[in-house]
Amino acid sequence: MADALPVAALLLTAFMATAVVLTRDPARQAIVLSAYGLALAVLFVVLQAPDVAMSQTAIGTVVVPLVVMLAVHAIRRHHTREPDEGDER
């Protein structure tokens, strides 16, 4: 019974990890990745590692998804601009 909380946190993490893999659009994937990072942080708190949970929350739910979003945006911007180059400006 005492193991119910860690098991629930592990199942939630596995569920979110599967959701990340099954999301195909990279921009949506970044958001799901952020939610997965939060689930992982919950798991770390349950396993009594608050220091790691803080790092995970800051890096996994904020910085990494933000970097992915910016990279996706940059790629789309460079791709859409190339065909009509020289038309504007």
């Binding site: 933000l66 910016l70 911007r77």
Partner: protein, 226 residues
């Protein structure tokens, strides 16, 4: 290599990993048991050196040399982001306010949330750095919070303001100074948990800001020269 060859090599590696991982997992002590060999060695040392947060004691005192390597890895990755994502000859960089990125059309609720969260998040970051040796947290966690907190201004739709409050040269200098200070502390003045904690907070904060700044420039401002 043919797809079939790749599959065979891949399966070989996967089988080996599965076998070794299963053997390693079977050899682990039971979940939540009473035997904690690492804890039994680190706890007395942390208490003897008056560092209530044992994790900080391990990071900045007992295993400070390992942390030195980690911090230099972080500095190397921030440096790599700055070098690789610089504006090259065939590209040009627009000014921050040239596009619609200044005062973008953002819902008032989102803007207000960003402005309200900014001071709270900054204060949380400072608290987590400053109390790292007492309570959960420390230079790394607090530094990441501080470094990412200022990007709430971008969430509020004001990229030019974000660009103004994080002048890149200042953060590059801060990053270099903090990394240098940490090397000196780790090699020459072992055991200074509070000082190392603060220096790591500065270093990590600067590294996060620098790396994100380069990604922001690439995503919003850099384009092929016309």
């Amino acid at each position: 290599m043919s797809p079939r060859g790749r599959l065979i090599v891949g399966l070989f590696g996967a089988t080996g990993l599965a076998v070794l991982f299963t053997l390693a997992a079977l050899g682990l002590p039971g979940f939540g048991g009473t035997s904690h060999p690492y804890g039994q060695r680190t706890l007395p040392n942390a208490i003897a050196r008056h560092t209530p947060n044992v994790v900080s004691s391990i990071n900045f005192d007992q295993r400070a040399f390992d942390t030195l390597g980690e911090e230099l890895i972080l500095m190397a990755s921030a440096l790599a982001a700055v070098v690789i994502l610089r504006t090259v000859r065939a590209e040009q960089e627009d000014a921050a306010g040239e596009h619609s990125y200044g005062r973008a059309q953002v819902y008032d609720a989102l803007r207000l949330t960003g402005y309200l969260l900014l001071p709270v998040t900054l204060m949380t970051g400072v608290y987590i750095v400053a109390h790292g040796y007492l309570s959960p947290g420390g230079g790394f966690q607090g530094g990441v919070i501080l470094g990412s907190a200022i990007h709430l201004i971008y969430l509020s739709g004001d990229y030019p303001a974000l660009a103004r409050i994080r002048p890149i040269p200042a953060f590059e200098a801060g990053e270099a100074l903090a990394a240098g200070a940490f090397v000196v502390l780790a090699l020459g003045f072992a055991g200074q948990v509070k000082a190392m904690n603060a220096v790591v907070g500065l270093e990590v904060g600067c590294a996060v800001v620098l790396a994100l700044a380069k990604f922001f420039e690439q995503a919003l401002l850099v384009r092929k020269q016309t």
